[in-house]
């Protein structure tokens, strides 16, 4: 996968570039807005990771607006030190696809980048999702594992749907909070973990091969792989 990182802070850039390389991605780097816009407009990338505040005459949101105006639909993850919800909304309104506030854990960034590529590959029009022998029907809102029917509350179904849409990817607690509950704050106790373990009890019975795994220091992954 080919990425573009537009970020002026050298240490953050090195940290991210090194991590992306270790995860098997190639990444170009621009350290100012002008170069960033040039690269983003001229090269094909799978995902662009864009800092908001940049030197070089044009800031992150300006670049995004310019790209979208030019018809470029590359998924963009905005990085920002502005944590305010209003700023987040502004970032997404300008055409960004996801918003991550600094400081961040690299696992969080990687998980979100993966989620964005998956979204870009297009899952619209799909009415059923499958991971191993786990299967959900998005129209009838039914979930089954092999021949067993799983009874889920609406929110549990939404949680499972999100995990299945991002199968084989790490999904962080923050991502779940934001996408399943639409909460953009940090609930002090780890309620998300409780929800996930409740869901796990329903989909992974002791006799079955576990699908929903906990990834240490990162989050969760739903996968049928060994």
């Amino acid at each position: 996968m080919k990425l573009l990182l537009v970020e002026d802070n050298e240490r953050v850039s090195q940290f991210v570039l090194k991590g992306l390389a270790e995860a098997g991605h190639t990444a170009d780097h621009a350290d100012n807005g002008r170069d960033g816009l040039f690269l983003a407009a001229s090269e094909p990338y799978d995902v662009i990771v864009m800092d908001r505040m940049l030197p070089g005459g044009i800031d992150g949101l300006g670049i995004i607006a310019a790209l979208r105006k030019a018809g470029k639909q590359t998924p963009i993850l905005i990085l920002s030190a502005l944590t305010d919800v209003d700023e987040r909304i502004r970032g997404l309104k300008s055409g960004g696809d996801d918003y991550l506030t600094k400081p961040f854990a690299f696992g969080e960034l990687l998980a979100r980048v993966d989620a964005l590529t998956r979204r870009a590959q297009g899952s619209s029009g799909v009415t059923t999702l499958e991971v191993g022998d786990l299967r959900i029907d998005l129209l009838s809102r039914r979930a089954t594992r092999a021949a067993r029917t799983i009874t889920l509350q609406p929110r549990e179904f939404k949680l499972l749907e999100y995990l299945m849409r991002h199968a084989d990817q790490v999904v962080t607690r923050t991502m779940l909070l934001e996408n399943v509950w639409d909460y953009h704050f940090d609930p002090q106790t780890n309620v998300v973990d409780v929800h996930v373990s409740k869901l796990r009890q329903k989909i992974d019975t002791p006799s079955e091969r576990p699908l929903l795994r906990t990834v240490r220091n990162a989050g969760y992954m739903l996968t049928a792989q060994e």
Binding site: W181, D186, T189, V191, V194, K198
Partner: protein
């Protein structure tokens, strides 16, 4: 000393004088024109009539005619004189031909001596055939006292006006200046750091009172902002220093002792967790500060807060079940208010989180929403735990305050402060009551918070508030 009162008075006096002059000038002009022109016209007619007499009856006839006229009229009314070629008087009421009169026929105004008295004459001279000269004139010097009185009156008016103006200025200055002096002294006290001072505002409602009121509201706002900033800096200084010091010593020790890789990575993981903790405090503080300053009000929309509560309860139910607690929501229909859904969710979340922490063995946490008689919304979370002792209640919502019962449990001590800030932002209040047993924390939120119900918006439906907030 320059003073606005004096400038004002000077301007006022100047204006009044200008008005007087503008009033007097046309009057003067009208007097001059009508009286003088009229006088000249009458004199001219007289001279023409006398000339006609001369032409009909000769110099003797004119002489008789003039003598007859002089006998009939009052002395000052008309000066008539006919003289021979050597300007010796033949007939008339002037003892001699006045000096300084031009030789040609015409109308003249001359100053001259008449019987050793200085006079001003308006006269018509007519040179008749045979070297005779006719003079018809009038002494206008008797009008001069009238003119003098006119100008004197005008000058007196100006003088009185100026006097009144100056006196008024002194009075106004004394009245205004004393009040401005109070404003100045208060302002100086504020400059020296006493932000709690306020300007004295009488209920008079004049411009100065309105100004004082506006300045007071501004000070209120500044004090609030200032308090917010000071709280944040105090908190940062006080409460971030401790975890940062811990983090530093952890890293320093690691660098000094250089233990094996296993230990090192454990310590690094712990350090990352420390940083996350610091970040959490930091974010919470910023969010609180943001709310203190009222800036978050831009996120207000019209929401059914019972929905927000139901979702929050649903979110926490599994956590409650895990602790063997009952988490229930008792709602009384939909409850529309203008508010920030995200902050309200977080506030209720914090209350539920707290309640779950302290509800005790097999306890119950009850979340409730209802509309009060006055239209405001009451959102409450009650538990069956030990509650907060009366002595601690007052401090419970203070930043970083952690009660005796909370020692040893996780948390940074900002939960209730955030709830209180959210309630305040919505124009409401956080109340901590006794649930007998347990704690009942409730937020009372006005239907339309007074703080955002500015006069222009208050009369419009809430939907407009939301629309305005979206801009």
């Amino acid at each position: 000393m320059r003073s606005s009162a004096y400038t004002l008075a000077a301007g006022y006096i100047g204006l009044a004088i200008l008005a007087l002059v503008l009033f007097a000038a046309p009057l003067w002009y009208a007097w001059q024109v009508t009286i003088n022109d009229n006088r000249a016209e009458v004199l001219h007619q007289d001279s023409t009539r006398l000339t006609a007499v001369f032409e009909r009856n000769g110099i003797a006839g004119l002489g008789n005619f003039i003598r007859e006229r002089v006998g009939l009229q009052i002395p000052e009314e008309r000066m008539l004189l006919v003289a021979d070629a050597q300007l010796r008087p033949l007939a008339g009421n002037l003892p001699e031909w006045p000096a300084n009169i031009p030789a040609a026929s015409g109308t003249y105004t001359v100053r001259t001596l008449l019987q050793d008295k200085p006079v001003e004459l308006v006269l018509v001279r007519k040179n008749l055939p045979g070297g005779y000269s006719l003079l018809v004139g009038r002494d206008v010097s008797r009008f001069q006292p009238l003119a003098r009185r006119f100008w004197f009156g005008l000058a007196a008016a100006v003088a009185v006006l100026s006097l009144v103006g100056v006196f008024g200025a002194i009075l106004i200055r004394r009245a205004i200046l004393s009040r401005i002096q109070t404003i100045r002294q208060t302002a100086l006290a504020i400059v020296q750091g006493d932000l709690s001072r306020r300007l004295p505002a009488q209920r008079g409602g004049d411009e100065l009172d309105t100004l004082s009121g506006t300045i007071n509201r501004m000070l209120e706002q500044i004090e609030q902002l200032f308090r917010g900033v000071r709280n944040v800096s105090d908190s940062i200084a006080h409460d971030l220093r401790t975890p940062l010091a811990e983090l530093r010593s952890r890293l320093e020790e690691l660098s000094l002792t250089r233990p094996g890789p296993e230990r090192t990575f454990e310590e690094i993981d712990a350090a990352v967790a420390d940083v996350d903790h610091v970040m959490r405090i930091f974010n919470a503080l910023l969010r609180l500060a943001e709310m203190d300053t009222g800036l978050r009000r831009s996120g207000f929309v019209e929401i059914d807060v019972s929905n927000t509560l139901a979702e929050a309860v649903e979110f926490y139910v599994p956590a409650a079940e895990l602790k063997d607690l009952q988490l229930l929501y008792r709602e009384h229909g939909s409850l529309w208010i203008a508010g920030d859904p995200l902050l309200l969710a977080q506030a209720i979340g914090n209350l539920i989180d707290n309640a779950l922490k302290y509800a005790g063995e097999q306890g119950t946490v009850m979340v409730e929403s209802q509309r009060l008689a006055d239209g405001s919304a009451l959102l409450s979370v009650s538990d069956t735990g030990p509650g907060i002792p009366e002595t601690e209640k007052a401090h419970a919502a203070e930043r970083f305050y952690r009660g005796e019962a909370s020692r040893g449990s996780p948390g940074v001590g900002l939960g209730l402060s955030l709830v209180q800030a959210v309630a305040k932002l919505h124009g409401g209040q956080l109340e901590l009551l006794d649930n007998r047993p347990g704690l009942r924390a409730q937020m009372r939120i006005p239907a339309l918070p007074a703080a955002i119900a500015t006069p222009s918006l208050a009369s419009e439906p809430p939907a407009r508030v939301a629309a305005a907030a979206m801009l």
